[in-house]
Symmetry: C2
């Protein structure tokens, strides 16, 4: 991890030696008293944590707060709820790449059992966000929802530009997408493993989404997400308001 | 998998029931005699395999050969040898995204033990290529090498354009990279988890590589590869010779 993240208040308290971060500091990084660690408060500032005490059952850190990181890019990711290992990668890597929200919707061709995974029933989903944000040296986590209908998410979204990935002749290469001037917010919708069903395509159309593809080589959901966010980020950076 | 791949000759012989593809056909897809499967011969044609017999110990397929897929994009990937789980993802996802070669080099800040993994000592590395190619519905596998020095690989390569990713103020955003007219071949070099060391940077410079970055958010090796190949593919498609 490039930035060690803590919940608000956690840096003022002793850190149990069996905490995953304590184990990383002592066991992996092999740091001693006086060592300085890039640290941040979740959804807060980045700073430097100095290791002040290594006790038998706890560590002590002294935190020097620095600046708040820039806001997350105004990009909303919508993903057809995939099987849990894929959802884990989407949560972590989507957070690393930088989005403001990730909504996992129930697609026509999905498996409803995916929503009952321990990933969603425990705080496991949020741990993936923290890992992804720490990798990106950012403290900000995207908003995450799951289990709503695609049409509901599209109706509730205030995003101006709406892209749906679809491997179809009717779609345009996403590399040709151009954001209208003025810094519009963007929504990117990615189907589940089996693709969008006819009902999903109708919801995407009624929800103001246009169809785009990533070329003839069919990518796994995680890889399609990485490719789509890369192209959208590049275009957003290209026409950012000055 | 979107395309089931077979070694040359394998489609003419009975397929043992304990073969991973036979288990997929019978156990996952639950297909019976007469079912048609998108299949291909590794580095050969794509076609349709019809299931003609389901025996107690073997399956029989009858293959109708079709067209050869287009050649792989003339992109060479050079990666600082990462830990084996990362190398697995790079082999599979790099193949899915589409490159002609992947060279894993021994970087200054790498761990020499990574090269002794069972990934490299068995055919496991090639299985990742086959999985990645099947996902992309392509029969072509990239050439793969590992364990050579960065300078050796750069000296042996005939690529015209050479990009190295580096998180540094001296680098330029990769989204701004433009391929010279004429369809030049491209080499993309990605450092290991700990980045390029000073000796690597010297080898990259002497090997004709220029430095590019993927923005302020630091990406894992796998994600950096996906982002870099996405941008390079987009630019190659944009200025393809007509």
């Amino acid at each position: 991890m490039n930035l060690m993240l803590f919940e608000p208040g956690e840096l003022d308290a002793p850190l149990p030696r069996d905490d995953v971060r304590a184990r990383h500091i002592v066991g992996v990084l092999r740091l001693g008293v006086g060592a300085r660690i890039d640290a941040g408060v979740i959804d807060g500032v980045v700073g430097i944590a100095t290791l002040t005490d290594v006790g038998a059952s706890t560590l002590r850190l002294s935190f020097e707060p620095g600046l708040e990181p820039p806001p997350l890019p105004d990009i909303t990711l919508v993903v057809g709820l995939p099987r849990p290992p894929t959802a884990r990668d989407v949560l972590r890597d989507g957070t690393t790449l930088g989005v403001r929200a990730i909504h996992f919707v129930t697609p026509q061709l999905g498996d409803p059992n995916y929503a009952t995974s321990s990933l969603w029933k425990t705080s496991e989903w949020r741990k993936q966000l923290i890992q992804g944000a720490g990798q990106a040296s950012c403290t900000r986590l995207p908003e995450v929802t799951w289990g709503r209908r695609l049409s509901t998410v599209l109706a509730a979204s205030s995003t101006a530009e709406r892209i749906a990935l679809h491997n179809d002749e009717a779609a345009t290469p996403l590399a040709r997408w151009r954001r209208p001037a003025g810094g519009a917010s963007v929504l990117v919708a990615i189907g589940p493993e089996r693709g969008w069903g006819p009902r999903d395509l109708q919801a995407l159309d009624e929800g103001g989404c246009t169809l785009w593809h990533l070329g003839p080589r069919v990518l796994r959901v995680e890889l399609a997400m990485a490719a789509a966010l890369t192209l959208v980020h590049a275009e957003v950076a290209r026409n950012a308001p000055t």
